[in-house]
């Protein structure tokens, strides 16, 4: 019996081939476009998140609780060196960096800008977040007087590789001191704050310049794959504030939320298109065959079997549309994942948000699962109206209306 109904549904679904194909194409095209947009949106967000993690806070960062309100040298993590060492021993920690950062003024003969000097260890940073990948000009080296400078800051100061910069700030004893630095390389992290204000120097030299011990740091950043680590560390270091990536970057959290709203909206529109498409084709198809259904009812076919047939028919249209759409969408996502979407025409605007000019798509099986479920339910709902037509059908009337 089920085989017979299956056969009826399959044959009827493709009886009016061009009509069905039109709906299949409609579903497939809108679905693959949605998948691509979703992939690009997610790729954009995750790219930004990834760069922020790599260049700054990792998944988790540790601070002196007072530091984020008052960034002065009184509010450092005192025993940072030992903490770093013990963190490095944990199996749930992938990488750790400790940074010493201080705000001040950088100046050339003509220009000056508010900026921050970040004392780093290059090897640690490379292991932590592929710091070397952020270099856009010059060489990745620091040495005694060397400095790597954020790209936007370099623009503001009108400096190049080889230029000299004076950075002045208060040292630990309260004196204003200045250090003369020579630019070795220019860094672009796409992290807006860093690109606009950061000067990276060798941590040892900064410690000596500021007159602080080599055990302190303003920030300890951690890479980890374990979401529970934050709570564990907060318990282990109650004197520090242990913050995760999203707490430290509320803007990115907002952006993530906004992207997921965009995604939901496109998703909803596409599902609506699918719904209307299948509804249309099923409605016309049922009206076309109203006599056939009348005869079936007359000879004793129960309504539930007819309902099953119509439902399966809609599912066939939906699923075929889905399969074609999934293949198209996957192809397009794979392309966008490897080659990206080149938006260099709009690059000025994008860079202002910290975005790259070439956007690469994410690919996630979730896209396909969600779409499948949504198309499934859209197909099922779309037959409700056509089925009403059949349910209230009076076989006598339909048979009488012949000739």
């Amino acid at each position: 019996m089920f085989r017979l109904i299956l056969k009826l549904a399959w044959k009827n679904a493709f009886l009016r081939l061009s009509r069905t194909l039109l709906v299949v194409i409609m579903i497939a095209v809108s679905m693959s476009m949605m998948l691509s947009i979703q992939g690009i949106y997610d790729g954009m967000t995750s790219n930004l998140i990834d760069k922020t993690k790599r260049s700054d806070c990792g998944e988790i960062s540790l601070y002196n609780p007072h530091y984020r309100l008052n960034k002065n040298l009184d509010n450092v993590i005192k025993d940072a060196k030992t903490i770093e060492a013990s963190l490095n021993k944990r199996p749930d920690v992938q990488a750790v960096v400790r940074r010493l950062s201080v705000d001040g003024l950088s100046a050339t003969a003509r220009k000056s800008a508010f900026s921050s000097v970040v004392g780093i260890n290059l090897d640690e940073e490379i292991a932590f977040g592929r710091f070397d990948k952020f270099l856009v000009e010059g060489k990745l080296e620091l040495g005694k007087r060397g400095v790597l400078i954020g790209k936007e800051l370099a623009k503001t100061l009108k400096v190049h590789v080889g230029s000299k910069v004076i950075f002045s700030t208060q040292d630990s004893s309260g004196e204003i001191n200045a250090m003369a630095l020579k630019i070795r390389g220019i860094m672009q992290t796409s992290n807006v704050v860093l690109d606009r204000s950061a000067l990276y120097v060798e941590r040892r030299h900064l410690e000596r310049f500021l007159g602080v011990s080599d055990t302190v740091a303003t920030q300890i950043a951690i890479r980890t794959a374990y979401p529970t680590l934050q709570a564990t560390l907060q318990k282990a270091y109650p004197q520090l504030s242990v913050m995760d990536f999203l707490e430290l970057n509320p803007m990115l959290k907002q952006m993530q939320d906004m992207m997921s709203i965009f995604n939901s909206i496109t998703f909803f529109i596409v599902i609506l298109v699918v719904f209307i498409g299948i509804l249309g084709v099923m409605y016309v198809s049922v009206l076309d065959r109203i006599r056939e259904f009348g005869i079936m009812r007359a000879v004793g076919m129960e309504y539930k079997y007819i309902r099953r047939e119509v439902l399966l028919e809609a599912l066939f249209v939906g699923v075929v549309g889905y399969v074609v759409g999934a293949v198209l969408g996957l192809l397009s996502l794979v392309y966008l994942h490897h080659y990206g979407l080149n938006l260099s025409q709009f690059s000025e605007g994008l860079a202002a948000f910290g975005l790259d000019t070439v956007l690469y798509a994410d690919i996630s099986p979730i896209y396909f699962i969600n779409t499948f479920l949504a198309i499934l339910s859209a197909s099922l709902f779309s037959v409700l109206l056509p089925l009403r037509k059949i349910k209230h059908l009076n076989p006598i009337e339909v048979i009488k209306a012949e000739t």
Partner: protein
């Protein structure tokens, strides 16, 4: 086998205008009959046939199929009654277009849950009786009108219903096909003992039946 007592049926059109389509019908159809409801257009043939076939309800009176009263059944019960006890042949477009002739003939048997082997054998048997055995794999729309009607008869008869009700089965056929169809139905009646009740005013049907029930204006005027 089928017994109608004092059956009345009204149709309502709009507010007040009603049509008294069946007036106090008393009628008995015995097993093995090959009979005809005849009369001028609008006299109530189709209405009576639909009432007997449990396609339509009546307003008063009783209809019995064997011992069972069918006038009091619910919509769903009537659907199952039609499936299990009745065979229908209508004027035209009887068949499911996407199914082959073989599947069309076996359709009701399938709905009733016969097993595939039994269906196959029975389909072959009735197809031979109706001389469509070489069309079994064809689709209905590749058949002539006469052949399609024979497929419809084959479908109706295949599941061995108590009675076959045929409303104007020859209306869309030419004389040659009408005669052929009637001959085959008569043979079915004689060889398989199927009870068949026609509603028609076609001369070829009148010529071949054994009993004519004449209706006029909703009443039986001659039997």
């Amino acid at each position: 086998m089928i017994q109608l007592t004092e059956v009345q049926k009204y149709f309502y059109r709009g507010e007040s205008r009603e049509v008294h389509a069946l007036k106090n019908i008393n009628l008995t159809i015995e097993e093995g009959e090959f009979s005809l409801l005849n009369g001028p257009s609008g006299c109530g043939k189709t209405t009576l046939l639909n009432a007997i076939g449990a396609l339509d309800s009546v307003d008063s009176g009783k209809i019995y199929l064997d011992e069972k009263e069918i006038t009091t059944l619910s919509e769903d019960e009537r659907t199952l009654l039609r499936l299990n006890e009745m065979g229908f042949v209508f004027q035209s477009y009887n068949l499911v277009p996407v199914l082959s002739v073989e599947e069309n003939i076996g359709f009701i048997m399938k709905l009733r849950g016969f097993d595939d082997n039994e269906i196959k054998n029975r389909v072959k048997e009735v197809a031979e009786l109706l001389e469509i055995q070489d069309k079994l794999q064809s689709l209905p729309n590749t058949l002539s009108g006469g052949q399609q009607q024979r497929v419809a008869v084959a479908r109706a008869v295949a599941s061995k219903p108590k009675i076959i009700l045929a409303d104007e089965p020859t209306a869309n056929l030419d004389s040659k096909n009408s005669i052929a169809l009637m001959n085959m139905m008569r043979r079915l009646n004689e060889e398989e003992g199927v009870t068949i009740l026609f509603a028609s005013h076609d001369e070829y049907v009148i010529e071949s039946v054994r009993r004519i029930i004449r209706l006029n204006d909703g009443s039986i005027v001659e039997d």
